[in-house]
């Protein structure tokens, strides 16, 4: 029994419920939630180490032996993502604590953020398909509230679209679960994998797999991303950073899990479709990223491009490309959080949302300007920063798989990322300053600190590749050998 596995999900829920009672005391809310996430981060780091030592860990709830009960299964891939998302959450909470948005804090901003994290961590850890659905819903319900918290007109109308599209995708998810249960009679993921392997994935199961592809694509923003830019644009900074860092990544995680563990027998159908979808996503995202002058739109489209890029790794489907995707996933969680924090801060400082309305910010806020430069270089995949390793490995893996068009599209899209962000940088940060020293809004040290820490993390991740690589290698090893996962998740002794 590894009861500790439940903590990354349960601690935020308990803390969230407790914080409900401290409505009038924002200090307790702020620091209580940060403290909780620090504890969750340390616990998940500890579990990650344990997984590296002892292999896959499992927790059977209520001692119900799998495949009959609900299980939590922690492999290196899941734990890597839990650890990274807890880390980025700490920093976003830190930012929120210093941004002091009291209107929202009064209406339970922090409890809902914690519930969101509970859903995200649960989705990473669970070993049961229906439980995955439940964790998705926990996460989504919290995100509905966060989406509309504050009640601005734009948030409300965008919130309706966001909720409706997610109700539909949850419906498809249940549909897929119903069909899968009807055909295979189990919902434990390892057990499903075993049974699918036994029957060799006939066309019926491939069709069901496409149903799951649609569901997770909607969550991840793969091709079906039309809801994403509008809704991310309407959010306040810290929340939008958390959404950009985590929500789509949960969809990506689910895609990786289901198409490496469950439906991996017909790659000529499923993985080809994923490849085409990834390319469409990258092209669409690139067009969006250069089409707008509104910085929030530009960064939202950058999220979409990154999703396409990560999925290139899954479509190529070999060890190297999957390693690359894992690197890139970890990198993207950190750096997308950073990017959204930076852009939100720019809007907070200037009050303007279009990049041609402001210039010379680097004169007023030098350190802030340099952090932005690091962010954009890291996103573009320039060597010393963390984006490079992932891009290199995904590119290499895709070349080995012979996907030349995909590689070309992927690297062209990186250029678009670089161009779209460089445009913001050159216009907003360089040139003659448009803000007089006396009108300058004070940038609080806490807000700057969370950006700075994230920037240092992206440098650290880039330089310290050798520290991370054993974890990534182990994660990719489990993903490419489903038997390891099945062994860990079903073995009863």
């Amino acid at each position: 029994m590894n009861n500790i596995l439940v903590f990354p999900m349960v601690l935020p829920i308990i803390a969230g419920v407790l914080l409900l009672f401290f409505r009038s005391n924002p200090k307790v809310q702020r620091w209580g939630s940060i403290l909780t996430m620090v504890v969750v981060f340390l616990i998940s780091l500890w579990i990650l180490e344990k997984v590296m030592d002892e292999g896959i860990l499992r927790l059977d709830f209520g001692e119900w032996a799998p495949p009959f009960g609900i299980t939590f299964v922690a492999d290196a891939f899941a734990m890597l993502l839990v650890t990274t998302s807890s880390l980025v959450t700490i920093l976003c909470l830190l930012y929120a604590a210093f941004a002091k948005d009291e209107k929202r804090e009064k209406f339970f901003l922090y409890p809902f953020l914690l519930l969101l994290i509970a859903g995200v961590n649960g989705a990473f850890l669970t070993g049961d398909l229906f439980n995955l659905f439940v964790c998705f819903e926990v996460m989504l319900l919290a995100s509905y509230v966060l989406m509309t918290l504050g009640g601005e007109k734009k948030q409300l109308t965008e919130g309706i679209k966001y909720i409706l599209i997610n109700i539909l995708s949850s419906w498809f998810f249940l549909l897929g679960i119903a069909y899968l249960y009807g055909t295979l009679g189990t919902l434990n993921m390892a057990h499903l994998s075993q049974r699918i392997a036994e029957v060799g994935q006939p066309p019926l199961l491939t069709t069901i797999s496409i149903l799951f592809l649609i569901v997770f694509s909607l969550k991840a923003g793969l091709v079906l991303y039309f809801w994403l830019p509008g809704s991310y644009e309407a959010l306040p900074t810290a929340i939008s950073a958390l959404f950009a860092a985590l929500l789509t990544k949960v969809g990506v995680y689910a895609l990786f899990r289901s198409f490496t563990l469950l439906f991996y027998h017909e790659p000529s159908i499923t993985h080809t479709i994923i490849g085409v979808m990834a390319m469409i996503t990258m092209i669409g995202g690139s067009i969006g990223a250069i089409a707008y002058k509104d910085v929030r739109k530009i960064v939202a489209y950058n999220v979409i491009i990154a999703i396409g890029f990560i999925l290139v790794g899954l479509a190529s489907n070999n060890v190297e490309s999957i390693q690359g995707s894992i690197y890139y996933l970890v990198h993207d969680i950190l750096v997308k959080g950073l990017l959204f924090l930076m852009v939100g801060t720019v809007i907070y400082l200037t009050g303007k949302t279009r990049f041609d309305q402001v210039s010379g910010l680097i004169t007023n806020y030098p350190l802030f300007g340099w952090i932005f430069l690091i962010t954009l270089l890291s996103l573009g995949g320039i060597p010393p920063f963390s984006g490079f390793a992932g891009k290199l490995l995904i590119g290499k893996g895709a070349l080995v798989a012979g996907e030349y068009v995909m590689v070309a599209v992927a690297f062209l899209s990186s250029l678009f990322v670089l161009y779209s962000l460089l445009r913001i940088f050159l216009n907003m940060f360089w040139g003659e300053t448009s803000i007089l020293k006396k009108n300058q809004i004070y940038l609080s040290k806490g807000m700057l600190a969370s950006c700075l820490i994230l920037a240092m993390l992206t440098i650290g991740l880039g330089l310290g590749m050798s520290v991370v690589s054993p974890y990534v290698a182990e994660a990719a090893n489990v993903l490419t050998n489903p038997n390891l996962y099945i062994e860990g998740a079903l073995n009863n002794d």
Binding site: Y144, L156, I160, L174, L175
Partner: protein
């Protein structure tokens, strides 16, 4: 029995689709509610509508009902209840602040 229920599910889904595509917000909420009912029915049908005993060991019956789909539906009903309640409140709040219940008049913002 399964066939009839499946047909019923089809009817429910088409009704829900019609409602979801309309402009009135109340109809959209009702559409999403009906859609979730349809999927709950589908879940229980996929488990098989067998006539069997309560799945408790030591009973006198020979066949047992599969209990899992029912547990799944119970969870799904609770979730869809929460989502529908939230959705309804959100629609009302939006109606209050935007001043219309017509989705076409709510759409888009004038940017760029």
């Amino acid at each position: 029995m399964e066939t009839i229920i499946t047909l019923l599910i089809g009817v429910l889904v088409s009704v829900a689709t019609y409602l979801l595509l309309s402009k009135n917000v109340i109809r959209v909420v009702l559409g999403s509610a009906i859609l979730s009912h349809a999927i709950h029915l589908l879940l229980i049908t996929m488990g098989g509508l067998k006539k069997g005993g309560v799945p408790i060991l030591g009973g006198k019956v020979e066949t047992y009902v599969d209990a899992l789909p029912q547990a799944l539906i119970l969870t799904a009903i609770v979730i869809s209840f929460a989502v529908t309640a939230f959705f309804l409140v959100l629609m009302y709040r939006t109606y209050q602040s935007v001043g219309t219940d017509n989705l076409h008049e709510m759409r888009g913002t004038n940017d760029e």
